[in-house]
């Protein structure tokens, strides 16, 4: 290889072009189709991706929470109740949904993060069920099982240009992109900096980490609260798009689904894995539900997930296969030697 300054680095050129093209396609996607079904599938899978990223951030500290859908429910209810029943404008209540969900995550986290491993998962299941039962029965506030019809977001004025959410799915699509981008940048920034490394050390060996002076509770709480904020926002936006909020939208099985999306998508990358897993599984679920035979969607969905888990190499998800796929399509890079110790991280 010629030593010198390369304005075009041939090694990273192709990946950059591919990723750039993908981003371009995603950014101008409504140009190709404004079909409401296609767009809504993408919008909802994007929202799930945000929730899945939160799950993965908590997982980075070694805890796995099966109550993430409860935070989506809290976010959804806060925004629905504030806008519809108390007449607060949409955007402040959207932010309030994230903040309140984060505050609740913080309070719950202080109490329950002491428990580790499977006990934490069971406690989060219990928490999620409690949220569902309260939402179902506290009729004076949540209107019980009949649910609340949510309001469309207020139009945003940008100079003379008005973004009107009542017009169709396209504004929702772009706002979903914004939400995914912001949360992805946030999670990615956490994950790649020192705090992400601390999360990993807390997960890998809590005793050693504690002896090194790391406050385990503090880092678990940071992860849980950060995930709570963005999961709450995701929930608020989800019910806004669905235009109804009831206790059955976010039940335990949605938390389970979040977990499956995480595992299938892969835990190697905090942004790539969730996006791939959520998009793939959610789209699969939607397309299967159109099959004419009732119930076949559950059968195929479960079967596909189990098969994927069996077929994928040990403990990896789809995103971790990226490098392998790359080498398979483009061949081995010629002037690249894998250093001896590289790629041996515990993750």
């Amino acid at each position: 290889m010629i030593i010198g300054r390369h304005y075009i680095n041939e090694k990273t050129l192709v990946p950059k072009v591919v990723i750039g093209t993908l981003i371009m396609i995603v950014a101008i996607f409504p140009v190709f189709t404004t079909n409401i079904v296609t767009l809504s599938t993408i919008i909802l899978s994007g929202i799930w991706a945000v929730a899945v990223m939160g799950f993965l951030l908590i997982l980075r500290t070694g805890q796995f929470s099966l109550g993430q859908a409860a935070f989506m429910a809290i976010g959804g209810y806060v925004s629905a109740i504030l806008t519809v029943r108390m007449g607060v404008p949409y955007w402040p209540s959207f932010l309030a949904a994230g903040i309140i969900s984060g505050v609740i995550a913080f309070i719950i986290g202080i109490v329950v993060l002491r428990a580790g491993g499977i006990y934490f998962s069971i406690i989060t299941i219990a928490f999620g069920e409690m949220v569902r039962i309260v939402a179902m029965n506290w009729e004076s506030v949540t209107q019980g099982a009949s649910g609340i019809l949510t309001r469309a977001p207020d139009p945003i004025m940008m100079g003379n240009f008005e973004i009107n959410f009542a017009a169709g799915a396209v504004p929702y699509y772009y706002f979903m992109l914004l939400l995914v981008t912001i949360s992805a940048l946030f999670y990615w920034q956490i994950d790649r900096t020192r705090i992400g490394g601390t999360f990993r050390s807390v997960a890998a060996n809590p005793v050693l980490a504690e002896h090194l002076g790391i406050n385990l509770m503090k880092y678990r709480l940071i992860a849980f609260t950060a995930a709570g904020v963005f999961t709450g926002l995701a929930g608020a936006y989800y019910v806004t798009f669905l235009s109804v909020m009831n206790p059955l939208i976010f039940d335990l099985w949605k938390s389970v689904q979040i977990m499956m999306m995480t595992i299938v998508g892969g835990m190697g990358s905090i942004v790539g894995g969730p996006i791939i897993g959520a998009t793939l599984l959610y789209t699969l679920g939607i397309y299967l539900s159109r099959l004419p035979i009732p119930n076949i969607q559950y059968l195929v969905f479960g079967g596909v997930v189990v098969l994927l888990l069996l077929v994928l190499p040990k403990g990896t998800g789809l995103v971790d296969q990226w490098g392998k796929l790359w080498r398979w399509v483009f061949g081995e890079p010629e002037d690249f030697q894998m250093p001896e110790e590289a790629g041996m991280d515990e993750e």
């Binding site: 997982l59 499977i118 006990y119 069971i122 406690i123 928490f127 499956m260 969607q297 059968l299 479960g302």
Partner: protein
């Protein structure tokens, strides 16, 4: 004080939770995983009993055994095909958790396709009530309670008096040492999964005569028996009995006086118990 009928209903619920929790405890202590698909084996057992009784005309006690054998075999197959691979070294606990959760959807979809979504009742099995003066108990509920007692005794005998039971207990304590002494640990895992699923299936069959059978009947009992196992202490059969009785009675007796808050109280109790005593009531302290 709630009427006696409520107590009996609570006891019947408890019996089902206990039988399912036994299977979960066994599977956990040998395989080291929580079997999230347990409720679906319960559901499949209910369907097997339903079709055995109504379509094939097999007597009810015998059809319970049939469901145990059929669904136990299915559980063994699941262990061999899915769980054995996903619990081998290198996989995290999450892979197998996700896989058993995915099997929930798989089996529910299969049952929905094969058997339909309607409730299927077996009220014709064991009709009649036992008059106890101030209240009466139907024979069906008595059957559930007797069934659970039989299961408890059988489990005690199998685990303490037979060679298989000794192998199971040895494997749960020290898998490596057990295999040195000639226990085929892989087979013990398969057998234990079979026993666990057979217990769940028979519980589903016996509750099918009290309630009814549908593809989604397994979800709530699965969560409840999971909670029973956890508050009783993972790996403890005594704990499973105590946890099952607590949750079953809470669900009915306390619900009688404070309606839906009882469910909140139930989950609250689970959370508080786990925070005070994470290893559960009868569990060994974590190493």
């Amino acid at each position: 004080m709630p009427p006696a009928g409520i107590w009996v209903d609570g006891l019947v619920q408890s019996c089902i939770y206990i039988t399912m929790a036994f299977g979960m405890v066994l599977v956990f202590s040998i395989l080291g995983i929580l079997n999230w698909t347990h409720g679906q084996f319960y559901m499949l057992g209910g369907f097997v009993v339903y079709y055995a009784v109504t379509a094939a005309g097999i007597p009810f006690p015998l059809s319970l055994l049939v469901s145990g054998v059929v669904v136990g075999g299915l559980g063994m197959l699941v262990e061999k095909v899915v769980i054995e691979r996903l619990t081998s070294p290198g996989y995290g606990i999450l892979s197998v958790t996700a896989a058993t959760n995915a099997l929930i959807f798989f089996f529910e979809g299969a049952a929905g396709m094969g058997f339909g979504l309607m409730n299927k009742g077996m009220a014709t099995v064991l009709p009649g009530v036992l008059d106890m003066g101030s209240f009466s108990i139907s024979y069906q509920k008595i059957a559930v309670i007797i069934f659970t007692l039989v299961v408890m005794v059988a489990m005690y005998i199998v685990l303490n008096r037979t060679k298989v039971g000794k192998a199971i207990r040895a494997t749960s304590q020290e898998p490596d040492a057990a295999s040195l002494y000639g226990v085929n640990v892989k087979w013990v895992r398969v057998i234990v999964m079979g026993i666990g699923c057979a217990l769940a299936a028979m519980a589903g069959g016996v509750i099918g005569i009290v309630q009814s059978v549908n593809p989604f009947m397994g979800r709530v009992p699965m969560i409840m028996s999971l909670l029973a196992v956890v508050i009783g202490g993972l790996g403890s059969l005594t704990g499973a009995i105590v946890g099952g009785i607590m949750l079953g009675l809470l669900n009915s007796v306390i619900a009688y006086s404070i309606s839906y808050y009882s469910e909140v109280a139930l989950f609250m109790l689970v959370i508080i118990l786990l925070l005070i005593r994470p290893q559960g009531l009868f569990g060994a302290a974590p190493k």
